[in-house]
Amino acid sequence: MTLELIGISVLWLFLFGYIIVGSIDFGAGFFNAYSHLTNKHHILTNIIQRYLSPVWEVTNVFLVFFFVGMVGFFPTSAFYYGTALLVPASLGLILLSIRGSYYAFETYGSRGHKGYSFMYGAAGLLIPASLSIVLTISEGGFISMVDGKPVLDYWGLFVSPLTWSIVVLSLAAVLYISAVFLTWYASKAGDEQATNLMRKYALIWAAPLIITATGIIVELRAHAPWHFDNILDLWWMFAISGVLFIGTVWLIWQRRNYGLAVVLLILQFAFAFYGYGISHFPYILHPYLSVEESFTNEAMAISLIVAFILGLCLLLPSLYLLFKLFLFNKDYVRGKEDKNHA
């Protein structure tokens, strides 16, 4: 395996981590706000708050890892995407800030302020929408070079059906992932009402997810034939992903083994996401940036990889401790030790 392959694989892993953890977070915020609207607030709030409060900062770090890693491993991408993405990325940042401040302001200040909850829920849907635009841009056709500087075609992006399909897919994925996860979490907490409600949401969002995902592959045929051909070569990865999807839905439908359903869900997205990533190879930004050409120098690559391995040795035990204390601790999940925070 070459250095650039290691680099892009690691970054892709972080982006995948962000998509899973972030989706749970964003979706939970949306369901929280939605339950305010439908007066089901009492059912969900406890479950959602207890899971999210200790881990929200961790979510954000996945994203930071990804873009800092991109600058490190593929510095040229900082130049292209940095110039082109000023507006969409800035909007994403502002939305992230609204969410980030929510926990601090809400959890420690005034609990349950409705307006902030709505803003927070809405921000949770707008962030994946604004960030997913990067995936659309990477397919090529929206950036042109003027005087040696990349310029983004905002209007072309806005009217492209591909943009909107990817936006819808990101929303469906966010809601589906978080509904499946929260079904499991609520059932583990022994909260039957919340489990049933989240189970219903999971089943509702399964259909739009699979329809838009298939739709995007079809649209790529017209927009980016090179990518479509690569996807066809990797058909088996997407097939496995589809089978795993059916497995998750079946388990949820049958009210059986929600833990396994979450595992299948993560594998389903892993196969689809890696299938997408591998078929996108070798381009980071079609046709300007390829993985190989934009790669950093060898000395930096090696030192980044070494730093990464050392960092992981530090982080994995810490993450294990965090999850052991909050996610997998029965008493905490059930709320018996709710009064422990400072």
Binding site: S53, P54, E57, V58, V61, V64, F65, F67, V68, G69, V71, G72, F73, F74, P75, A78, F79, Y81, G82, T83, L85, L86, V87, A89, S90, L91, L93, I94, L96, S97, G100, S101, Y103, A104, F105, Y108, G109, S110, D147, K149, V151, T296, N297, A299, M300, S303, L304, A307, G311, L314, L315, S318, L319, L321, L322, L325, F326, N340, H341, A342
Partner: protein, 446 residues
């Protein structure tokens, strides 16, 4: 919203950094103080210090949340506003940027655990959880400052035919600017937080709460404030010597030292009118001593540099502000310590307590002035001697619009964090909380 994207990029970066540095300083400094209070509480078996740790930690979480948010913003804005710089930086100085994320991740995980596990562990074990928080916070500052040091004295690569070559990421990290910069940033963060916490305690004492809790907090933080002020003064002196050696144009601009000379005097204060300095205080041989510890040493003046490579001369005001406040805080904390020691009445005088109240905000002004001095003082360069700010900036036309959006965001975050902090502590005053713990224990906490 069309305009000069270079100028707008500078304004937006300055805005973000000026806002972020407030929360970042708190983020680096406060864990140490929580740790000390927690430790003293265990050592002396004194519930007041434990409560101090608990209350500071609670306030800390709010400021960390804003710090995380603004830190993420500046991290991404570097690529959005300075794509040309980040392309080079990615090749040469990405390693500390990458490691900073790890340090921060580490801190975030353990902070989450510490905050949510009061009474779930023994006090001693719980204290251990703070060590990674404090280390993570300090290391974040170290790694980011390494990048800033690189911008001031870039090394660890060569440029051959316009292309980067022979890159050594480790040498790029250990630049001449690094030791003084890192120690200055970390120690001033501790110093600023000491005065911030002292000013809160003094304010409570002035506002009628005569509780011994606030007296203990005031004494402890002022004592630490004195220690860190002395350290800051020493390191500040080293920073001046670094500048004289490696960035003489920044030192000369900050000191309004126009002509190269031996036995150079130090100019304090004053104003610049039509190229002439007025109303300043001159200390003979001062600058030579500051720069080289030798009254007769030759100090390079602005006459040695091309006109378009001289930093803006208004950084002199920032420099004066920073140094004056630093000296003032050193004086206040020293006087407080001596007065306490010899039981002088002045230590409890209202006017003196008010002086301490102002010390916190003043320390933050000094932090801002210091960053403005060093950042503006590097102009016109983003990478000293190699790449100008103008070459690095984005070509996007929408930076002006983004300034407006981010200004609104920072306003909301700033007001929000103050309101929330105020509410947390107003709703739950020390007296009430102490009474609660005593009734839980059913006995005397001491």
């Amino acid at each position: 919203m069309l305009g000069d994207s270079v100028q707008f990029s500078r304004i937006l970066t300055e805005l973000t950094l000026s806002f972020h540095i407030i929360y970042a300083t708190i983020g680096v400094g406060v864990p140490l103080f929580i740790m000390i209070a927690h430790w003293v509480g265990i050592r002396k078996n004194d519930e007041h210090y434990i409560l101090m740790a608990r209350r500071w930690a609670r306030g800390y979480v709010v400021s960390v949340a804003v710090g995380v948010v603004t830190g993420t913003i500046i991290g991404m804005q570097l690529s959005l506003l300075w794509p040309g710089f980040m392309e080079v930086a990615g090749h040469v100085i990405a390693l500390p940027l990458f490691m900073e994320t790890f340090a921060f991740f580490f801190e975030a995980i353990f902070l989450g655990i510490y905050i949510y596990t009061w009474d779930r562990f023994s006090r001693k074990k719980h204290l251990l959880l703070l060590i990674p928080v404090a280390i993570g916070g300090a290391m974040s500052a170290v790694f980011i400052t390494v990048v800033n040091a690189f911008m001031n004295s870039p090394q660890g690569f060569e440029i051959i035919d316009g292309r980067l070559a022979n890159i050594n990421p480790i040498i790029a990290m250990f630049t001449p600017a690094m030791p003084t910069k890192i120690s200055h940033v970390v120690v001033t963060a501790f110093m600023t937080v000491a005065f911030m916490l002292a000013s809160i305690a003094a304010f409570r004492l002035l506002r009628g709460s005569n509780h011994v809790y606030h007296k203990k907090a005031l004494f402890m933080t002022m004592k630490l404030g004195l220690v860190f002020s002395i350290a800051t003064a020493l390191i500040g002196d080293f920073s001046g010597k670094y500048l004289a050696e490696y960035q003489p144009e920044k030192l000369a601009a900050a000191e309004w030292h126009f002509e190269t000379e031996e036995g150079a005097p130090l100019r304090l204060y004053g104003i610049l009118q039509d190229g002439e300095v007025k109303y300043d205080i001159k200390i003979p041989f001062g600058l030579s001593i500051l720069a080289y510890s030798n009254p007769n040493a030759e100090v390079i003046g602005l006459d040695q540099f091309e006109k378009d490579e001289v930093p803006p001369l208004y950084i002199h005001y920032f420099f004066d502000t920073m140094v004056t406040i630093g000296m003032l805080l050193l004086g206040v904390s020293a006087l407080y310590y001596v007065a306490k020691r010899w039981r002088w009445k002045i230590a409890n005088a209202r006017w003196f307590l008010w002086l301490i109240v102002f010390s916190g905000p003043l320390a933050f002004v000094a932090i801002e002035a210091g960053w403005w001095m060093t950042e503006v003082g590097r102009q016109p360069w983003i990478l000293r001697g190699l790449m100008t700010t103008a070459e690095a900036a984005t070509s996007s036309e929408y930076v002006g619009l983004m300034i407006i959006l981010f200004s609104i965001l920072y306003f909301i975050l700033g007001v929000g964090s103050v309101v929330v902090l105020n509410r947390i502590f107003r709703r739950n005053p020390v007296e009430k909380e102490l009474a609660k713990y005593e009734s839980q224990k059913g006995g005397d906490p001491a």
